[in-house]
């Protein structure tokens, strides 16, 4: 029996990635990292800033996301996100720039705890891949 499922990553402008030979996907879900294998129960969850790892037959890929929502159903994993970057194509100064924006955000005083938490999360992740 095959162990593969289909994955679609969509952002508002276009379909970012579509693969049907995924074996495992690790996503930074709202309450911690979550690994998804075939025949996972249907789930809807938010993403927090972090790294999506996709293991497929053709290799392993990593993507950096800032936000998003995932839906898993009938062995279809759909990830909707408005900001996603392939780690391979991500250049040093792009990371720096995102880091700078996130740092500016945390230094603002009037933001809510939740946004503060999220941008701190961003900084952590960005530092780790920098």
């Amino acid at each position: 029996m095959s162990e593969e499922f289909k994955i679609d990553i969509v952002n508002p402008e276009k379909s970012f990635l579509s693969k049907d030979d995924t074996i495992e996907a690790v996503v930074p879900a709202y309450e911690g990292e979550m690994g998804i294998l075939k025949d996972h129960i249907p789930i809807i969850s938010f993403l927090k800033p972090g790294i999506i790892k996709i293991k497929s037959k053709s290799g392993e890929d990593s993507y950096y996301v800032e936000d998003g929502i995932i839906e898993f159903k009938d062995n279809n994993l759909t990830i909707l996100t408005s900001s996603i970057f392939d780690l391979k194509d991500m250049e040093r100064n792009k990371i720096q720039e995102l880091l700078r924006i996130a740092e500016e955000e945390t230094n603002k005083t009037e933001i809510s705890d939740q946004t503060k938490y999220l941008s701190e999360q961003k900084i952590d992740v960005l530092r780790s891949i920098n």
Partner: protein, 291 residues
């Protein structure tokens, strides 16, 4: 009859107009390709977003506690209409169609005694509506500076709408835009986005129960504002594809009409030139005869 010189001038002027419309048609055709591409590429996102929300809202057990963006405020008194048009003219019936659709909706609201508020996106719609509905327009948003429809702009519009909703400035929000069908057909659409219409999509209903992380309410209350921006973004993409399509066919027609006009004028020019020659000949002959 117009003199030969006048005719000549008219022919040149029509010809140069034709050149302009032809160039505009070419530009629109090139832009259309891109706009159409991005409209098609943008569809999956909004569709999937919609599906997730549908699944979510079906899963909600306690409808009365649902977020207001989904269930509505309980009133239907104040309507907010977001009329999305282009920033530039010369695109045939594109803007006029949206305005017509919007105006008939406004009339219906008036008959029902509802209160109306308008936000216009794009300056053309504002120009046309402010004469009659000037006092109803509460905001005009224009993206003259951004070249293509982008998500960032859509988010701005979405945020304005949500802010106003939270201040309870309106109960129901409808957006007006043109849906791109093909180059010659654009269908003006009225889509209600607040409260979200979840009823007419029965076929997509799934019986499966999801696991939610965090719980449904939190997901919904985060997702609904995003969905509004997404729907607006979709409308913007459809609109920009429609605008280019409408402009292309309008300019194509204009070019063809100009061609016809040039033909007609040329015939007239040739005729009157010939008439002048004949007249001169007659004069010469009759002059020679009288000698």
């Amino acid at each position: 009859m117009a003199s030969l010189d006048d005719l000549k001038k008219r022919i040149t002027s029509v010809k140069s107009t034709q050149k302009i419309t032809k160039a505009m048609k070419m530009v629109a055709a090139a832009k259309l390709k891109r706009a159409q591409d991005s409209a098609e590429k943008g569809r999956p996102y909004s569709q999937k977003m919609n599906n997730i929300i549908l699944n979510l809202s079906n899963g909600i057990s306690d409808k009365s506690n649902a977020p207001k963006l989904l269930s509505g405020t309980g009133n239907e008194r104040i309507h907010l209409c977001v009329v999305m048009t282009s920033d530039r003219g010369l695109c045939g019936g594109f803007n006029a169609n949206i305005i017509k659709k919007a105006k008939s909706y406004f009339l219906k609201l008036k008959e029902e005694g509802k209160e109306l508020k308008i936000i216009t996106v794009g300056s053309k719609g504002n120009d046309q509506l402010k004469r009659v509905y000037g006092d109803k327009i509460i905001e005009n948003i224009s993206f003259k500076d951004s070249k293509n429809a982008n998500y960032f702009d859509a988010e701005k519009v979405g945020k304005t709408i949500i802010e106003r909703f939270q201040k309870e400035e309106f109960d129901i929000c409808t957006i007006f835009y043109n849906q791109f069908k093909n180059v010659i057909t654009q269908i003006p659409q009225a889509q209600q986005i607040i409260p979200l219409n979840t009823e007419n999509n029965d076929e997509n209903k799934s019986e499966e129960s999801y696991e939610f992380e965090p719980d449904e309410d939190e997901i919904l209350s985060n997702l609904l504002p995003k969905n509004i921006s997404t729907q607006i973004f979709k409308a913007m993409l459809e609109n920009s594809a429609s605008e280019q399509g409408a402009r292309m066919s309008a300019m194509d027609n204009a070019t063809r009409n100009a061609g016809e006009m040039v033909d007609k004028l040329t015939i007239e020019y040739n005729r009157s030139r010939q008439a002048a020659i004949t007249k001169e000949l007659i004069e010469i002959i009759s002059g020679a005869e009288s000698l």
